[in-house]
């Protein structure tokens, strides 16, 4: 993907800042009424949470995801924690357990309370794959219309990353207001990508970026793309997975898959939920929306039985949804290549490997 | 002897003229039953085959202490009885007329020897019997599934 930045034209600005200065960005966002969600280091893992200042513990370390494994490693020049950790914006847009309404009977009427709508948020230091995922997830669960996204382009990639082949990274694509790029020695290039982003950036102090600095940032992102080892031919996968419901690949995955649902929980686009009503002893009823997974047996239950009973069928449903039927439903793939499902799978099942096996099967059929 | 009722029977659609004549020679009777009348009894000698013309017939099974259970009902156009085809030529279920019922009744002994004498006639007749049996089996399998009980 080749992105051309328009630098220092009109209201758009590009600045170079170093991490302490990032606090002024956080403060700026806060003063504009945004609650800021950004990366922090917690329990040895890069996660997202509400922040009041930039977490300096992230400087010089980054996530090192591998199939079935996540470690934190030292990495000189890293600012935003490297490749993605387990959390994406999904849990902030549609939290794992959320009240739709609460109600109590009042005579023959029912009194209903709905939760207060939340205010706008700024998501800071989000990786490009996750920004793409926000757009995809937004087809089902749109966030707040005033939410702001500050993307951090990737200058290093994890072993499980395959965003390049899915067309979502490591350079920033659509859907961000401000683009950050780490370009060495802890320096960050800051560029606006939308009018709202430009308005904010106009209030931020920093040195104007030089052509060399911008080029250095660009080449680091390009080098990251080159270093990516995993890939899926998205077009071929779409066709192949739709045509191979009887493939032996599904059974072979099922021999390893624990149906633990981790892949669906960490996936930034998996949107499935279950809707549950509970009543307390005072007669107050709550309808909650809770993340659910197509790997649980109850997911496809109708009276009389479970429709998708075998683990092979559940994995087939999930992988086919991500790479094939999502296109039919929403006009895009449901996968952004973040690699989380590979990293956080307890047995390291690799969607790229399984999809490529199916593609090969079709090619040889 | 050509039997017009035979030629019109749904079971024999497409049956050749010459075979219709052979079958006509096996006709033993035009049978009629009133509602509730027994047609076949389990254990009885299977010496006939009925081509139902009109009415409804219940195939039933009895067990001590319960009311007879209807396994399936047959109607005009259906063939009733195939135990006559194989040894020991004894009925395995009961059959009872539910409504006013009429049938062309064929003599089983004559049918068996006609099948042996003319393999082409035999094949034509047995093909139709097999189709009827397969359809009946398919329907029975679905009933056994008890699909409405979920």
């Amino acid at each position: 993907m080749d992105l051309t930045y328009v630098v220092a034209m009109g209201s758009e600005r590009s600045l170079v800042v170093r991490p302490p200065k990032l606090n002024s960005l956080v403060e700026l966002l806060t003063s504009h009424g945004y609650s800021v969600v950004g990366p922090i280091l917690r329990d040895g893992v890069v996660v997202l949470d509400f922040i009041e200042k930039f977490d300096e513990a992230l400087i010089g370390v980054e996530s090192a995801p591998r199939p079935g494994e996540y470690r934190l490693e030292e990495h000189k020049g890293a600012v935003f924690g490297g490749p993605v950790g387990p959390m994406s914006m999904k849990r902030w847009i549609n939290p794992p357990n959320r009240i739709a309404w609460s109600a109590r009977p009042e005579g023959d009427q029912v009194h209903v309370d709905t939760p207060k709508p939340r205010g706008p948020r700024a998501y800071l230091g989000i990786r490009p794959c996750d920004v793409a995922a926000r757009t995809i997830f937004g087809e089902v669960w749109p966030g707040h219309p005033d939410d702001l996204v500050i993307v951090a382009e990737c200058t290093s990639v994890g072993e499980t990353c395959f965003c390049s082949s899915m067309g979502t990274g490591p350079a920033a694509g659509e859907g961000a207001d401000i683009v950050l790029t780490e370009f060495g020695e802890g320096s960050v290039l800051v560029r606006s990508r939308s009018d709202r982003g430009a308005v904010l950036l106009a209030r931020m102090n920093g040195a104007a970026a030089t052509e060399d600095e911008i080029e250095s940032a660009r080449s680091r992102v390009a080098a990251a793309a080159e270093s990516m080892v995993r890939s899926i031919d998205s077009e071929a996968a779409r066709e192949a997975l739709a045509s191979m419901p009887d493939s032996a690949v599904w059974d072979s995955v099922a021999q390893r898959c624990l149906a633990c649902a981790n892949c669906t929980m960490v996936c930034p686009t998996c949107f499935c939920t279950s809707i549950n009503d509970t009543a307390d002893l005072d007669g107050v009823v709550q309808r909650t929306i809770r993340w659910d997974s197509c790997f649980t047996p109850g997911f496809s239950e109708i009276h009389g039985g479970v429709h998708r009973d075998s683990v092979a069928a559940r994995y087939r449903h999930w992988a086919s949804h991500k790479l094939s039927t999502w296109w039919d439903q929403f006009g895009t793939a449901g996968c952004v290549g973040c690699g989380r499902c590979i990293t956080w799978c307890p047995v390291g099942i690799d969607i790229t490997e399984e999809a490529n096996r199916i593609i090969k099967e079709v090619a040889h059929a | 002897m050509r039997d017009a009722a035979l030629a019109d029977h749904a079971f024999l659609v497409g049956f050749e003229e010459e075979h219709l004549e052979k079958l006509g020679a096996c006709v033993a009777a035009q049978s009629m039953w009133r509602p509730g009348e027994s047609i076949l009894l389990r254990g009885g000698v299977a010496d006939v085959c009925h081509l139902l013309v009109e009415g409804t017939v219940a195939i039933e099974i009895r067990s001590p202490g319960t009311a007879p259970q209807i396994i399936q009902t047959l109607q005009g156009g259906d063939v009733l009885g195939w135990s006559w085809l194989f040894e020991p030529h004894l009925w395995t279920f009961d059959a009872r007329a539910v409504s006013d019922t009429s049938a062309i009744t064929l003599d089983a002994a004559l049918l068996r020897s006609a099948i042996e004498d003319d393999p082409v006639f035999g094949a034509q007749l047995l093909k139709r019997m097999t189709k009827a049996i397969v359809n009946r089996l398919k329907a029975t399998r679905l009933q056994v599934l008890d699909v409405y009980n979920h």
């Binding site: 997911f299 | 409804t56 409405y148």
Partner: protein, 272 residues
């Protein structure tokens, strides 16, 4: 514009009447002005117990009330079938694609219903009954488990007496007191003498619909003119929860009614 979560809010409304259809099935008459198409469903909530999808079973052109026929199969349907007149239920809908009512005009129609599957088809038959001149010959083929499980018996008697349609009923099991047909519903196709130009509407257990569709194709019906109503786990009704997916389809809003030309491939793959 309502947010995603607000679309899950129910309207609380009064149950005007209840009617027991069989030992485990009850029809609720609910006060509502919301128009619907035959074949569509509402999400009904029993306060404090939960929510489930229930097809419309009432007349599509009688304003002010909805009818919903519910079979007791779990906690929510237990609560809904225990509701008394004057009680309150939560309702949201209507959802889904219904039967192709416009295409039925001027056409012969064969309706095949199994068990509770007669309920989502009842609005079609009521519409036909109100306006017999607009349609060709209609045949209604009904299968039930036992004679006691036959739904809407007074409707069936009335429809049978009308010149607008032929009604055929069969049960899977019966004792000697039953004077009707015993056997699967597809066995009724012969006596019903179906016109191959007919439009067929099927609702019932999936196995039953599969066999019925196969037999209808053998009779020469066009796969685009055979419609089935699919059942999958529908928790939200609006394409959010993901549970009802069947291959690329969200049954809740792209179904539940689909032509056989679409359903056949989706039903072919086990556990799709």
């Amino acid at each position: 514009m309502s947010t995603t979560i607000e679309r899950l809010a129910a309207t609380w409304t009064r149950v005007a009447a209840t009617r027991r259809e069989t030992a485990d099935t009850v029809t609720l008459t609910i006060e509502s002005d919301q128009p619907f198409r035959p074949g569509q469903f509402d999400m009904l909530t029993a306060l404090g117990v939960g929510e489930c999808p229930v097809s419309h079973s009432g007349h599509p052109r009688i304003a002010g009330v909805h009818e919903h026929t519910i079979r007791r199969v779990g906690a929510v349907t237990n609560a809904l079938t225990a509701i008394k007149p004057g009680d309150t239920v939560g309702i949201r809908g209507p959802y889904g694609r219904g039967w192709p009512m416009e295409d039925l005009v001027g056409s012969d129609i064969v309706v095949i219903a199994g068990g509770i599957g007669l309920a989502p088809l009842r609005p079609v038959i009521l519409a036909l009954e109100s306006d017999p001149g607009s349609y060709g010959r209609a045949a209604l083929l009904v299968g039930a488990r036992t004679p006691e499980d036959i739904q809407f018996t007074s409707d069936l008697d009335r429809w049978n007496a009308s010149s607008a349609m032929d009604v055929f009923v069969t049960v899977d099991r019966a004792d000697e007191t039953w004077v009707g047909s015993v056997g699967v519903v597809t066995r009724l196709l012969d006596p019903a003498a179906i016109n191959p130009e007919s439009i067929a509407l099927l609702c019932g257990p999936e196995i039953m619909m599969r066999f019925a569709a196969t037999d209808l194709l053998a009779l020469g019906l066009d796969p685009d003119r055979i419609y089935v109503s699919l059942e999958r786990n529908m928790e939200c009704g609006i394409g959010l929860c993901g549970h009802c997916q069947l291959g690329p389809m969200f049954v809740c809003w792209q179904g539940p009614v689909v032509p056989w030309s679409v359903a056949a491939d989706l039903m072919r793959v086990p556990e799709l």
